[in-house]
């Protein structure tokens, strides 16, 4: 078995493995196989992992892909939340489960959407807020599914004790039909979401969403202006990180009329205006699937490049909040199929989390 999956012999482990640090600096993973999802953790920064614990007892076809990811989030009390897409009540059903005993057992998975029986729910993302509140966002087809009009995003939030704050609230429509959502929290503790929208003229550029106050109203602002007219979902989601200073850092992919490739920009006024987009990567190597993480003055960008044979994760850093940047450095590579690169922090250091077919799972510290 490849690195990081020694305990998964005989199981058909899929590439999209998501990971998150817990408050005790354990690295938690959600590992999908053909019909189960498992959770394990590492107490030694990815060198060894605990025995996998199954989340679902009953088999169900798991529908994860690199762009349709399983989710894992650990709250300050050590509760482990997971969400994953499966062919369940509907062809796309997102299930949620939680462990209240630090990963030893998981609750019977329940659909995230309260209309899961009759409508698809997919592309869910889980995020823990600064107050320990859990937020889940997903694409939901209960009010219709029209590829031209765009999708609705629904929201459920639980407080730090697991009590429901919001349940199945529609927060926006017009989202590009399969776009992955990226979430972080502003300095006021409220969630900020970025995804691809369908703008007039069938332009598929990015927008930011944030709740206006503690109730259901969300405001959307346009974040990118690339003029990408495409009659399809490019299935290539963006990344977002909000710095301690309130600066929004975004990274995204486009093939718009105005610019093509991978880009980074930041905003100091909650997305009303963004800095001039900076191109990332070698345009001849299909730079894509970015992630970004801001921690203090440090901002790190990671993305994938492919030269026809090898996948390489490129990393670029800023020490001044994203104003100036180092040269990109190839940090990991694989000449097999690979997942997308993700940046994580244990509160002190920044790590690259990356899974590939031949080299397995790697957690690499970014100094």
């Amino acid at each position: 078995m490849p690195n990081g999956f020694e305990r998964y012999a005989g199981m058909d482990v899929k590439l999209p493995v998501s990971a998150a640090f817990g408050p005790d600096r354990r690295l938690w993973r959600i590992v999908p196989t053909t019909d189960h999802v498992y959770v394990d953790f590492s107490s030694d920064y990815g060198k060894t992992f605990s025995p996998p614990v199954p989340v679902n007892v009953e088999r169900v076809p798991i529908r994860t892909q690199s762009e349709y990811r399983p989710q894992i989030a650990v709250d300050p009390a050590g509760r482990v939340y997971v969400a994953y897409p499966a062919f369940g009540l509907q062809p796309w059903t997102t299930y949620l489960s939680v462990s209240e005993n630090r990963g030893q057992h998981f609750s019977m998975p329940e659909p995230l959407s309260d209309k899961a029986r009759t409508a698809n729910s997919f592309q869910a993302v889980l995020a823990i807020g600064p107050k320990g509140d859990l937020h889940a966002f997903w694409h939901d087809e209960r009010e219709g599914a029209d590829e031209a009009r765009g999708n609705d995003i629904f929201h459920t939030a639980l407080d730090a004790k697991g009590k429901t704050l919001q349940s199945n609230q529609k927060i926006v429509d017009g989202v590009c039909s399969c776009c992955r959502l990226a979430v972080d929290f502003d300095t006021d503790g409220r969630p900020v979401l970025i995804t691809r929208f369908i703008y007039p003229g069938n332009v598929r550029d990015h927008g930011l969403l944030k709740p206006q106050d503690d109730r259901a109203e969300w405001t959307a602002v346009r974040a990118t202006d690339d003029d990408w007219k495409i009659e399809a979902c490019p299935v290539h989601g963006p990344a977002l990180s909000v710095g301690r200073d309130g600066r929004y850092h975004i990274a995204w992919f486009t093939q718009g009329n105005k610019r093509q490739g991978l880009f980074y920009a930041h905003s100091d006024d909650q997305g009303r205006r963004f800095s001039e987009p900076v191109a990332l990567g070698d345009s001849k190597q299909l730079p894509g699937h970015p992630d970004v993480l801001a921690m203090g003055e440090r901002v790190v960008l990671a993305w994938n490049e492919f030269d026809g044979r090898k996948n390489r994760v490129m990393v670029k850093q800023s020490g001044d909040g994203g104003n100036t940047w180092s040269e990109a450095i190839a940090t990991a590579e694989s000449d097999s199929d690979a997942d997308f690169p993700f940046l994580l922090t244990d509160g002190q250091a920044i790590f690259l989390s990356w899974n590939s077919q031949n080299k397995g799972y790697r957690l690499i510290r970014i100094d």
């Binding site: 599914a145 590829e147 039909s177 399969c178 495409i230 009659e231 399809a232 979902c233 490019p234 299935v235 290539h236 992919f253 093939q255 001849k284 299909l286 894509g288 492919f306 026809g308 044979r309 996948n311 097999s336 199929d337």
Partner: protein, 164 residues
């Protein structure tokens, strides 16, 4: 043997050869591998055609199937080749979907390499994998890539220009 009997035998033998070549269990869809694009091009030397990559999972692709069928009816000489990027085990579903949308006669292929990323790169090193992805090949096999669903107007214009 009389000449026309010989011809008949030759034709019959050719027929047998073609159909004894390893194909999938399903009739219509063939395995697309490294080198398959060259095969497709070779079989069409000096002829314009449209090559479309699609997937059962892609909503815009599904929407486009009817437009394609309409175009085929309107332009009987239009040569359309479709390549599904679904896993090879879905060949049956691919056939069913094409049949359902009156595209049963279309030349159909399905990705059959373990590394789809390399296969895509071989087709086009600047393709990120978005679907549907079409290539409009003219008679000289210069091609124009288009991402997203293509319309009957799109195809009408191209047909008028290349006259297949």
């Amino acid at each position: 043997m009389p000449t026309d009997m010989k011809k008949l035998c030759a034709l019959f033998c050719l027929f047998l050869t073609l159909f004894s070549a390893p194909l999938f269990a399903e009739d219509q869809t063939q395995p697309f591998r490294a080198g398959s694009l060259n095969e497709i091009l070779k079989a069409r030397q000096g002829k314009p055609f449209i090559l479309m990559f699609w997937s059962l999972d892609c909503a815009s692709c599904m929407k486009d199937l009817d437009a394609l069928a309409a175009s085929m009816k309107k332009h009987p000489k239009l040569d359309l080749v479709m390549v599904s990027t679904d896993d090879a085990e879905f060949a049956g579903e691919v056939n069913d979907m094409l049949a359902k949308h009156q595209l049963k006669q279309i030349e159909s292929w399905i990705f059959s390499e373990s590394n789809a990323q390399r296969l895509r790169y071989e087709v086009d090193p600047s393709w990120y994998g978005e679907l549907p992805r079409s290539y409009f090949y003219d008679a000289g096999h210069n091609r124009l890539p288009v991402s997203g669903a293509i319309t009957t107007e799109h195809i009408d214009a191209w047909v008028a220009a290349v006259k297949p």
